[in-house]
């Protein structure tokens, strides 16, 4: 529905509210519709009301703005005069978030482009450096693995050497034990074909300790030397041994003689047999010795 202009009486009564900016929207529109047709009395009433309202501002004691307000005002004016960007809302603008204030300049096209190029160069350098470091790391890992392998071999060798020495020591201690025994028995073994070959068995029946010492050539691949006890004219297997596996002293501890009664033993013999030994002698006899 179209609004109608205020009547003169309504206008005169609304002047004060209009001067205070307190007219409701509909009244304000009707007031403006009447304004172009206002007569002298209406205009005078309006001017009086406007001036009275203006004087209300004087009820506030003047307050000095902060000095930076004027500084910022002048700065914006100078910026506009220099053809810079349009005036900014200084107060809100100066309270931009911290990250935006720090990196705000980066958002400018030229600086942004330069920054992007620098970042690309920096990234390429970092990639090259990383690849170089990776190569160095790989080489060092390989060297470390080699060293570790050598150390393991050395450890194995050392461990084997220690075991050998311990075994040798054990056998020599056994031989010394036999030698110190009052009832020590020794059986000399002579070569059957090669007289340069020899051997001996040191045996303490009371303490049940026996040691074999031989001088024989290394056994062929897949073959072992086997010791036999000739008991009541029957050979009995007394253990196998390998000359090549020893360190060179040619001494062996004979476990099978421990429980054997010497009264029933006639002789000892050494033959070459398939690896692991045989129940009965099948190979060539190298040494033989009778009690």
């Amino acid at each position: 529905m179209a609004l109608t202009p205020m009547t003169k009486q309504e206008f005169l009564e609304a002047c004060q509210a209009h001067a205070l900016g307190a007219l409701d929207p509909e009244d304000r529109e009707r007031f403006y519709l009447a304004l172009p047709h206002a007569d002298a009395e209406m205009n005078a009433a309006l001017n009086d009301a406007l001036h009275t309202a203006e004087l209300l501002s004087l009820t506030q004691s003047a307050v000095a703005p902060r000095p930076d307000v004027k500084r910022r005002l002048m700065a914006q004016i100078h910026a506009e005069a220099a053809g810079a960007a349009p005036a900014r809302r200084f107060s809100r603008e100066t309270r931009r978030p911290l990250l935006e204030r720090i990196f705000g300049a980066w958002m400018q096209p030229r600086l942004g482009l330069a920054a992007a190029f620098s970042l690309v160069v920096l990234a390429a350098g970092l990639v090259a450096y990383t690849l170089s470091l990776n190569d160095q790391l790989t080489a060092r890992q390989t060297a470390l693995a080699d060293a570790h392998g050598r150390m393991e071999v050395l450890a194995d060798s050392t461990r084997a050497r220690i075991e050998s020495l311990e075994d040798s020591l054990s056998r020599k201690e056994a031989m010394l034990e036999v030698l110190r025994a009052r009832g020590m028995q020794m059986v000399a073994l002579g070569g059957m074909e090669d007289t340069a070959r020899y051997g001996k068995i040191l045996w303490d029946p009371e303490r049940k300790v026996a040691v074999l010492q031989v001088s024989l050539p290394p056994e062929p691949e897949g073959m072992d030397y086997q010791l036999w006890v000739i008991r009541d004219s029957k050979p009995m297997a007394a253990g196998v041994f390998q000359v090549s596996a020893r360190s060179g002293d040619g001494m062996y501890r004979i476990e099978q003689l421990v429980e054997t009664d010497k009264k029933h033993i006639n002789a000892f013999a050494v033959t070459l047999e398939p690896a692991g030994g045989m129940p009965q002698p099948t190979g060539k006899m190298y040494l033989m010795g009778e009690i």
Binding site: A22, A64, S91
Partner: protein, 219 residues
């Protein structure tokens, strides 16, 4: 550029010897002519004139803005916007109207009320009210002692006149002027009939006008 000589350089001494001179006429003529002169120079992009206009009116404008927005931060921003507008729009200002202060105070009040009606302002005040923000404000003393006296006399007269009307009328006027409420909003806020608000507003303004006429210059 040649500017008209400011009246203040000779008006006080010369006018005292002129027949028909009165303090009222001097009080009215001096600030208006000077403000109009400053506005004319601002149109010519004279920064010094803007500086002088700022020095003259910023304190009064700032006080009204502060009263409305109750925040120094918002008041700073609005004051700056007003003088930027003066600088950029001075050419559109009708110098014949004379009352520069009326133009400025109207801009200041309208912008301040727009600010408190904005959604952002309401949210910020809901989130963090700042009761102590307006403490420690520095009252402005004008550069010119004579001007200070004149302003002070006018302000005293207005305050006295405001005390001369009823408290109910005064409350309605202050809510409308400093808080930007319409008549319907005031009625709702004060829980009274709309007609009562209209009557109090009209009668209060007329009473104030009657008390001030004859005490201070009137257009």
């Amino acid at each position: 550029m040649i500017y008209p000589a400011p009246h203040r350089t000779f008006a006080p001494a010369a006018a005292l010897w002129l027949p028909g001179f009165s303090l009222v006429s001097f009080r009215r003529a001096r600030p208006m002519t000077e403000a109009a002169d400053l506005m004319a120079r601002i149109v010519e992009r004279d920064e010094k004139a803007l500086d002088q206009l700022y020095e003259r009116f910023s304190g009064a404008l700032y006080a009204v803005i502060l009263r409305i927005v109750k925040s120094r931060e918002d008041a700073d921003e609005i004051l700056c916007e007003i003088f930027l507008q003066v600088w950029n729009k001075a050419a559109t200002y009708d110098l014949a109207r004379g009352a520069t202060y009326t133009w400025l105070i109207s801009m200041a009040r309208n912008r301040a009320i727009d600010r408190i009606r904005s959604k952002g302002y309401k949210n910020s005040k809901q989130n963090a009210d700042e009761p102590g923000e307006l403490e420690g404000l520095e009252n402005l003393s004008s550069e010119s002692p004579l001007e200070a006296v004149l302003l002070s006399e006018r302000a005293s007269a207005v305050r006295e006149a405001l005390r001369g009307i009823s408290p109910e009328q005064r409350e309605v006027l202050e809510i409308a002027y400093f808080e930007g409420y319409t008549q319907s909003q005031i009625a709702e806020r004060m829980q009274m009939p709309l007609g009562t608000v209209k009557t109090r507003m009209r009668d209060g303004m007329k009473a104030l006008q009657s008390l001030l006429k004859g005490r201070i210059e009137w257009p």
